[in-house]
């Protein structure tokens, strides 16, 4: 803000320095951590309509690769795929205040549709497009 007084500017400078120190410490802690957690990425989960015993009413597909997102959104986020700008800010705030502000979430950034072909109770056939059903890409939000 252009309206900030000298005292406030001093306060901001103090906060920035504190934040940078926190970041530096967190970075060291992250890198020296013994258990290297897996980074946020896409994992496959196959939903099998056949295994669910639904072959009598679902004509196609037999199942679909639904995918899910799993992994940690750890500092530095720039090295992770598809991290949003806000997620990077979220990480910084988390380092400053880890007790109250959570890390960014590993979640889908791109979703795809699938079509399912099935019989209804009256033996009519329905071909329905389900939007946002399959994860195409994961990222940190």
């Amino acid at each position: 803000s252009a309206q900030g007084g000298g005292k406030q500017r001093h306060g901001n400078r103090y906060k920035t320095a504190k934040g940078q120190e926190a970041l530096r410490m967190a970075n060291i802690a992250e890198n020296s951590s013994g258990d290297q957690k897996q980074a946020c990425k896409k994992h496959e989960l196959y939903v099998s309509f056949r295994d669910l015993g639904w072959q009598d009413w679902i004509i196609a597909p037999e199942g679909y690769a639904a995918y899910y997102c799993m992994g940690e959104c750890a500092f530095p986020l720039n090295s992770y795929m598809n991290a949003t700008n806000h997620a990077i800010v979220q990480t910084l705030v988390h380092f400053i205040n880890p007790e109250t502000v959570p890390k960014p979430c590993c979640a889908p950034t791109q979703l795809h549709a699938i079509s399912v072909l099935y019989f209804d109770d009256s033996s009519n056939v329905i071909l329905k497009k389900y939007r946002n059903m399959v994860v195409r890409a994961c990222g940190c939000h």
């Binding site: 994992h43 989960l45 669910l52 009413w57 004509i59 597909p61 072909l117 033996s123 497009k129």
Partner: protein
Amino acid sequence: NFTLDNEVHSSFIHRRLKSQERREMQREILSILGLPHRPRPHHHGKHNAAPMFMLDLYNAMSTEADEDGYSYPYKPVFTTQGPPIASLQDNNFLNDADMVMSFVNLVEHDKEFLPVRRHHREFRFDLSQIPEGEAVTAAEFRIYKDFIQERFDNETFRISVYQVLEEHSDRESDLFLLDSRVIWAAEEGWLVFDITATSNHWVLNPGRNLGLQLALESVDGESVNPRVAGLIGRNGPQSKQPFMVAFFKATEVHIRSVR
């Protein structure tokens, strides 16, 4: 391929689901699909005309999903002999469709076997099962015409499709002509009639859904038995049974109910 697929997918589920877990999973997936319960179709012949046509649409949508759009399969895979008679329709309604639904013909007996002066055939479709929030953007009535050897190749018939407006016990029903066209005796394939307006009328007024009537005339204007002209009815092969197909666009966002 199965082994390969199994290896890829087994990375997540390492054990068989217990019956309770399986039921839970079934319930969750049904919720995602927006279905209140697992459908239990009575007659689910996957090789009947409508399911095969729908599978053809499904394949067209699946194979071209990553492209800009998909084309309406004007030559269905189940048309094994001869070119289809149906004219190509605008693809846009298929590209825009959120849902496509086929309806089986509910009329058990063809009226053509009854001693009536005017040969005709009746068709009825139950549109009450259409999920809420879906608006009809296009609808077709499809009937298969076989090649008839006993007829001259250059012989023609006029085929007319009517919407039944009112039925009477003592006289013929009140009809509204939907479409009429001339077909050759030698032609073979699916005949497609646009019934979009009629379908919308039936959806809005379910009590007025009295079905369709089809009538055939010779060039002289004489009533002709549809069977004689090669139009497949209830006694024909399952893969050539008449059916109705409708294309829908969602009018509201589906919100899953809280459980």
